[in-house]
């Protein structure tokens, strides 16, 4: 028994060692997110040097603080910020707070300690982030927000927010058109503690409810594809009459589509997503999803970096702090032109 196990273990280990080799090889594909102490220190030294030498010129270190780069949406945000900053001659450090205000605070402290010239922030909560932005501003570091806002104005230099309410209304209208005479639908709600889950749902219902639609059930799937599929499988059983699904984001909508496909009910069910990620756009093009709503995160981030550069080189802050960027409806007509959260003209 022992010997046999030993041999199996050895085989398993060998196979896995091979696989781990693969792991090691692939890991150099993403080198952008360097957060170790050495780089931070280096960046700090450089930042300080740049400040002494020539304030009023591009260059130095910018801290990019985002939510969760494992989600394609935020990954696009980070990648854009790093690329744009690099093109303008800035160095960047990337950190992710995962919507945890405490972590966000730590990263802000680290950016202050490292002497960052500016901060690009996707804040963790509207109320919770006011203190963090204030702290950075007090330390003389300008903060440029993208994607989400904080509940006070006059602290950050810019708050560039995509207009979730307007986008959700656009999506809902397209979905209503698809539904035709069918009135029964279910909703997949995002993470209930996330502001955007509520904003999107409310805007959906502002369009849908006055038209006499009948919501059979509402479940949360925490923005997650697997959970979206599981919840949808159960709702298909519980609500055999459903003809439509409104989802708070694309991942949940894609899970719902998979569940509907397995149940043989994809044909004749209208599924609405939100975010405009590549998988969802493909589903729209294939006619499986009615529509998705593209959040122009790439454009928003580009604008933020441009304004940051403007401020650091000329000292001019953006004329308006709160800037809202409209979302774009993605239907089969324009789905072919979307890639990586950008719609090519």
């Amino acid at each position: 028994m022992i010997k046999r196990f030993g041999r199996t273990a050895a085989v398993v280990a060998m196979g896995s060692a091979m696989a781990l080799g693969l792991v090691a090889c692939s890991s150099d594909s993403s080198t952008e997110e360097s957060t170790d102490a050495a780089t931070a220190e280096e960046a700090a030294a450089e930042g300080a040097a740049a400040e002494e030498a020539a304030s009023g010129e591009a260059g130095g270190s910018v801290a990019v603080i985002t939510v969760d780069p494992s989600n394609p949406y935020w990954k696009a945000e980070v990648d854009t910020a790093v690329a744009e900053l690099g093109a303008l001659g800035y160095e960047s450090t990337v950190n992710a707070h995962g919507n945890d205000p405490d972590k966000q605070n730590q990263f802000i402290d680290a950016a202050i300690a490292a002497g960052a010239k500016a901060i690009i922030l996707d804040p963790a909560g509207a109320d919770e982030s006011v203190g963090a932005v204030q702290k950075a501003t007090d330390a003389g570091i300008p903060v440029f927000q993208v994607n989400a806002e904080i509940s006070e104005q006059g602290i950050a230099k810019a708050q560039i927010v995509s207009n979730n309410a307007q986008g959700a209304a656009l999506g809902a209208e397209a979905w209503v058109e698809c539904m035709g005479d069918n009135l029964d639908y279910v909703e997949l709600f995002g993470n209930p503690t996330d502001n955007n889950a509520g904003i999107r749902s409310t805007s959906y219902h502002e369009v849908i409810d006055p038209l006499g639609f009948n919501m059979l059930q509402q479940e949360t799937a925490n923005w997650d594809r697997q959970e979206g599929k599981q919840k949808m499988e159960l709702m298909i059983q519980a609500q055999p009459d459903l003809k439509g699904v409104i989802a708070g984001n694309d991942e949940m909508a894609l899970g719902a589509i998979e569940a509907l496909r397995e149940a043989g009910k994809l044909q004749g069910t209208c599924v609405l997503g939100f975010d405009g990620n590549d998988d969802a756009v493909a589903a729209v093009a294939a006619g499986e999803m009615v529509a998705t709503v593209l959040q122009p995160i790439v454009n928003g981030t580009k604008t933020a970096v441009a304004q940051l550069n403007e401020y650091l080189t000329t000292g001019t802050a953006p004329a308006q702090e709160k800037q809202s960027i409209d979302c774009i409806l993605i239907t089969p007509e324009n789905a072919g032109k979307v890639q990586g959260f950008t719609l090519s003209e």
């Binding site: 781990l20 890991s27 993403s30 780069p69 394609p72 919840k231 159960l234 059983q237 998988d279």
Partner: protein, 360 residues
């Protein structure tokens, strides 16, 4: 799955009670939900819920084996994500480094490698715990982050959706294999059955099983009586990692996509199933049968609440309450058994002189 009591042996009533508790809970859940919604007892719904349960049950069986030793494995959720990502990655075609070539492993190789990676991660856990004497909680907590991080590195945070393969590369059929339903029963359920039988045999019919119960019951005594503790400890984490990796592969087939964040918090559901199934977190006590019933209790409860349409927040509260209640009853029973055990010992000792040690 069942352990046959030999005819001559007395029935161990306390063991029956412990398992019975989970069974009673399961019966209650089935009765309540079938009254609340007619959908619950439909064969289609039952099959669907069993498929959901199977995923958790497979991980929970691995977790049981670890917990029997008095250990814990918090990294299983991340191993699910990692092995799934490996499967998705290999199916997309693997760019061999330093060359222009792309390797397309066959489907069986993809499944084998993905599962082997999970077992290997478990083996690392085992070595850290058994040889370096790091507490299991800490070692596997670290691995929870590391395995998830590696999954994110490999996929660069993205989802692999192209898992169908193509005829040119001869790697088609992954979904057909891993999401098939032989005899109308989903593959995940078959895997659960096979894993359960294998684990039952391992625990009840092999030397390794006896070692495991012995080390969990009293580690010092087990070592003194010649149980190779390090070997046992390393192996159990390999088994746990292997079980988690199986689920990782099944999940990819289920979703037709490999998501790097798959399996988050699965470790907690698995631990809950083991505990509801009557296992002691301190080790030495627990059965495969109980664990599977525990997984059904949790799975049917969670899915039943969705079928009935209970508010999302209540779903979470009720799930937590059932776990706490189950363990509380378990503890009460433990105390009761101990007390009656002590009484019996005292009675059997000769009454007058024996100074029995106060509390057992």
């Amino acid at each position: 799955m069942s352990t046959k009591e030999s005819a001559g042996r007395k029935i161990n009533w306390s063991a029956v009670m412990v398992e019975g508790r989970a069974l009673i809970a399961l019966a209650l859940i089935v009765i309540v939900f079938s009254i609340l919604t007619p959908q619950f007892l439909q064969p289609e719904t039952l099959l669907l819920m069993t498929r959901h349960v199977a995923m958790n049950a497979i991980i929970a069986i691995g977790m049981l084996i670890v917990i029997l030793n008095g250990g814990i494995d918090l990294s299983v959720g991340s191993i699910v994500g990692l092995s799934g990502i490996i499967a998705g990655w290999l199916l997309q075609g693997w760019n061999i480094p330093f060359t222009e070539m792309v390797a397309y492993p066959q489907v069986w190789a993809v499944i084998l490698i993905s599962v082997a990676v999970g077992a290997f991660v478990g083996w690392i856990n085992g070595v850290i715990i058994a040889r370096w004497r790091v507490a299991a909680f800490v070692a596997t907590l670290g691995m929870l982050y590391m395995a998830r991080g590696v999954a994110l590195l490999i996929s660069n945070g993205e989802t692999f959706t192209d898992i169908k393969g193509s005829p040119e590369t001869n790697n088609q059929g992954f979904v057909d294999v891993a999401f098939a339903a032989p005899l109308g029963i989903p593959m995940a359920v078959w895997v659960m059955i096979v894993v359960a039988i294998a684990a039952s045999i391992l625990l009840n019919r092999t030397k390794f099983g006896r070692w495991l119960y012995a080390t969990g019951g009293n580690e010092r005594a087990a070592i003194l009586s010649g149980v190779p503790l390090k070997k046992v400890q390393t192996r159990i984490y390999v088994i746990s990692g292997f079980c988690a990796a199986l689920v990782g592969v099944l999940l990819v087939a289920d979703l037709k996509a490999a998501v790097p964040t798959a399996g988050e918090f699965y470790e907690l559901n698995a631990i809950a199933a083991v505990v509801i199934g009557g296992a002691a977190l301190a080790g030495g006590r627990g059965t495969v049968r109980g664990t599977i019933i525990g997984a059904f209790v949790i799975g049917f409860l969670v899915d039943g609440l969705v079928l009935v349409g209970v508010s999302v927040f209540w779903q979470v509260v009720i799930k937590g309450a059932v776990i706490v209640l189950a363990v509380a009853i378990d503890q009460a029973q433990q105390r009761l058994q101990k007390r009656s055990g002590v009484r019996k010992t005292q009675a059997s000792l000769t009454a007058p002189s024996a100074p029995t040690s106060g509390d057992a």
